[in-house]
Symmetry: C2
Subunit: 558 residues, 2 copies
């Protein structure tokens, strides 16, 4: 009997619910998304805030790993340095730790690994509020988004990867007495099948969703028997450091080598990413970030025959053709633009609107009126003192501020100017409200680039069909995480659906109310189609887990 | 209701049995392997032979595809030209046909595609005997092997790919009404999930197992909605031409565009392979063949971000340490060497035997005696008039004859000389009996190369552990399709099992009786570990099918 039998039994229901959810694609959340004291404890917020305050300007000492130096360069987008330092180790040290830890980890069964990993997540749940503050003050997200994205939504994505891996690993029986009838005799062979992990994983994280974008690759690697090194962005270390430190502590308490998961902290002297990827014992790589560096990493991996999953940049498009309620449509569109100042990989950038206007039931709302009301909706959110600052958040990277300035020099009609916005309590916050420009349909050289951040383009088109053609081409040439259409015409919807799906992007129709295309739900929505230039990863399809191991057989007679 | 409803119902039991078999890894064969008139019809052999004779020296006119020229260059290894010509089309034509056919094919459900593909196989079953003669006289296999390998065993591998693909495609529900509770309200989203095929597949076949090695990639591509082009070896066209022609005819009768499967016939003017792989609409590639060309193809695919599954060459090793019945061991080893003159990718090449001898129960059989009896067993099969010629078959490629000559010049001790052997009825047959050489353990530069064909090395070793270390290194450096050990010591077995499995090769222990490590059973044995330099393909694990499509979601409200 497994020495983890109690743990397996304790987490069986969670695992089974998660596996069931990935099959049905129904709504499922193991961790409620509300940052509520009723759910997470009345003192949870205050405790988290206190731990955050205590950590500021101090070394981060919770990891079960050492470094040859200490380094930290995080600054809150809300305008103050964090002053935290982390242990920095070189690639050889991290990989050697990982290889050593893997020897034990790969010998565990899928059920054992699933139980241990779920236990790690459960034990790390009390850190949600500290993680939220850490995320807010590294990424610039508003507090609620920071809580949801780095806490419950991330943990659910991690659980999804565990469940998908468990499902794949248990798809084939691991032992079989094989009996082949041969006329009057028969041959009996005892068979065993090992899921042999490919080897050490490196997950290269990003600066905007440091946990959400990293845990799928990390947990997909772990459930399939590999050790993982979470290489963080130098300016966004703290959130994932909390999770990794908690996991390492839980693992140590369980008698498992904690180095199956390590934090890879870069410094100016130890940039780490390329060194890790080129290490002979690193066999799989996950990457979220810019297209340029992502393409370089893909090529490094391809040349060495390594498995590489990427989520790079894309250009997300919306088409507005007809609706029964244009007010609800524009509310939804505006919120998608304002949310985290357009710094989500799923945020829409280009809005295609027929020159002849948008049909609302039997009425046609003229193009100019649609645009004016869209801008008005954005203004209403931005200028709402309660909602605006917390929805916009702050700008993570000064490059994004520069990009807004550059967009202003394109010579396009400015439909809405960008400005700063006050973040109460944070006078030095780096902010930028949405810039909305109008481009002609033939200015594809401009609007088919990714303008990451609070920059959008309204593009008047001759027809819905023209818009679909442009969007499908954008998807094929430049990639996309999301596409979206508003139409009440079922034939048009069917046409767009097939054109966009077979171009390689997911598509959302007629989103209104409290759901936005920026969102992607664990267990139900595959995040990243894996089928266009925005990346080959999909959280979490079967390939995302099965590419991390091989099934190898042992046959014996007697 | 599907217009293929009857077909789906007709083949449901076959599909379910196959899916069940891939789960349990138990023995399963949909097509009995015996070339028996009782199973396949009393006239089946005579009819097949007649069709073969009628096809000789005539154009092959059964395909539903045309060419810009006709070409054929097949010669039987048994010593006569086949004189058959095939339509040759260029890469652009073949890919354009495939793209056009895919539009319809991708719209079918997994159940529809599975039923149609099983119907294709069932309708092609009456061709088993003609396929056997075609295989014998292109590959040089003996008739019974040719029947089994290209007929029932191939069709079972095809069915396995269908079943694995069907299992993967049906792992996630394709439609869901998703309801997210949000306090007192809820959000409802209608979700659909498309399995979007990556695009046209090219399967590059080999000269020794032209159907068996090609159908897994072809059927894995087809079940996942892609069209496939089976690019054949210029000297081994006929066997797969029969299957593809039969499939095309069945598809046409079902109202399905037959160009979802096409034969790619090369000619000196149209070499085809690289042109096909470089075509923008070709998205996945399967390859079986030499390591040099395979590595070139892997690099071509990597540079273009295409999925590439390879089975290249490996160096298969056996270790003989102890047994309760050395006679049975040597019988088994000898047959593995003689079978198809070592022209199987799974055939053992290197035999590691302790200098101190092999333990048989309490007795130690000295090294020299083990070797002498091993050679004696080979001689007994080779010189058996009934068994020898049909087991050895003929040599497919004159390069293999040259390789035997080269091996003779290595300066190693010749334990058994190679010679020709008479193939009754075929005076001009190209044959070569096994050459067995003795090498020192430190002559790895010689015996760690692949010596494809009837060439083996006996290597005396100091210990079992030394042998395991050498074999594990061979697997890691040069790849292997199989490894094998004979030992009665359970601790030694456990040590070898872990060392070889984690090196990345399957391992067989103590094979005696009518089962040989050369064999790999559909539905139970994963062929190709996918984890060592011998290739990244595994027939048929989940990655082998899931890498051929992406799951992309449609969300809609209202």
């Amino acid at each position: 009997m497994s020495r983890f039998q109690n743990l397996i039994e304790q987490h069986t229901a969670t695992l089974q619910q998660a596996v069931n959810a990935i099959h049905t694609r129904d709504f499922y959340a193991h961790w409620p998304e509300a940052p509520s004291g009723k759910i997470y404890g009345e003192n949870a917020n205050a405790d988290g805030q206190q731990r955050f305050q205590e950590q500021l300007n101090n070394p981060f000492t919770r990891l079960q790993q050492t470094g040859s130096s200490n380094h930290g360069e995080e600054t809150s987008p809300y305008g103050f340095p964090l002053g935290i330092t982390y242990p920095v180790a070189d690639a050889n040290t991290l990989v050697a730790n990982a290889v050593a830890a893997q020897q034990q980890w790969r010998s565990f069964s899928a059920a054992e690994r699933a139980a241990i990993l779920i236990e790690c997540l459960e034990k790390a749940t009390p850190h949600f509020f500290e993680i939220a503050y850490a995320t807010q003050h590294t990424t610039g997200q508003g507090f609620v988004m920071a809580f949801q994205a780095s806490g419950p939504h991330s943990y659910d994505r991690a659980l999804e990867a565990i469940a998908t891996g468990y499902y794949a690993l248990t798809s084939f029986d691991t032992e079989r007495t094989w009996v082949k009838p041969m006329g009057k005799m028969e041959v009996t062979v005892n068979k065993k099948f090992y899921a042999v992990p490919k080897g050490v994983n490196v997950t290269v994280g990003c600066s905007t969703f440091p946990i959400w974008n990293s845990v799928p690759g990390m947990f997909a690697s772990l459930i399939t028997g590999n050790a993982t090194i979470a290489k963080v962005h130098p300016k966004v270390v703290y959130p994932l450091a909390i999770l990794v430190a908690s996991m390492q502590q839980t693992l140590r308490e369980l008698g498992v080598n904690p180095h199956i998961v390590q934090l890879g902290v870069p410094s100016p002297e130890v940039p780490l990413t390329v060194e890790l990827i080129n290490h002979a014992d690193v066999k799989t790589v996950d990457y979220t970030g810019s297209s340029a560096f992502g393409t370089q990493i893909e090529q490094l991996c391809a040349a060495q025959g390594k498995v590489c999953f990427t989520e790079k940049a894309g250009v997300n498009c919306m088409i507005v053709e007809s609706t029964n309620n244009i007010d609800a449509v524009l509310d939804n569109m505006a919120f998608s633009v304002v949310l985290y100042s357009g710094q989500m990989c799923t945020a829409p950038q280009n809005f295609f609107i027929p020159k002849a206007g948008v049909k609302e039931g039997e009425v046609v709302v003229p193009f100019d009126e649609v645009v004016a009301r869209f801008i008005g909706k954005i203004d209403a959110i931005v200028n709402n003192e309660k909602m605006g600052p917390s929805t916009l958040g702050a700008i993570q990277n000064t490059g994004t501020i520069d990009r807004v300035a550059k967009a202003n020099t394109l010579g396009l009609t400015v439909l809405r100017s960008s400005s700063t916005i006050a973040q109460p309590g944070f006078d030095a916050a780096q902010t930028s409200t949405p810039l909305v420009l109008q481009a002609d349909a033939n200015q594809q050289d401009i609007y088919e680039q990714e303008w990451f951040g609070p920059i959008s383009f309204v593009v008047p088109v001759d027809s819905f069909e023209q818009a679909v053609e442009i969007v499908a081409n954008t998807v094929k040439k430049h990639g996309a995480l999301t596409t979206s259409c508003y139409t009440t015409d079922s034939a048009k919807q069917q046409h767009a659906e097939e054109a966009l799906i077979y171009a390689g992007a997911p598509v959302a129709f007629n989103f209104t109310g409290p759901i936005w295309i920026n969102q992607s739900s664990a267990f139900s929505d595959f995040h990243g189609a894996g089928a266009n230039p925005a990346g080959n990863a999909s959280f979490a399809d079967l390939t995302f887990v099965t590419s991390r191991y091989n099934t190898i057989g042992v046959r014996s007679i007697g």
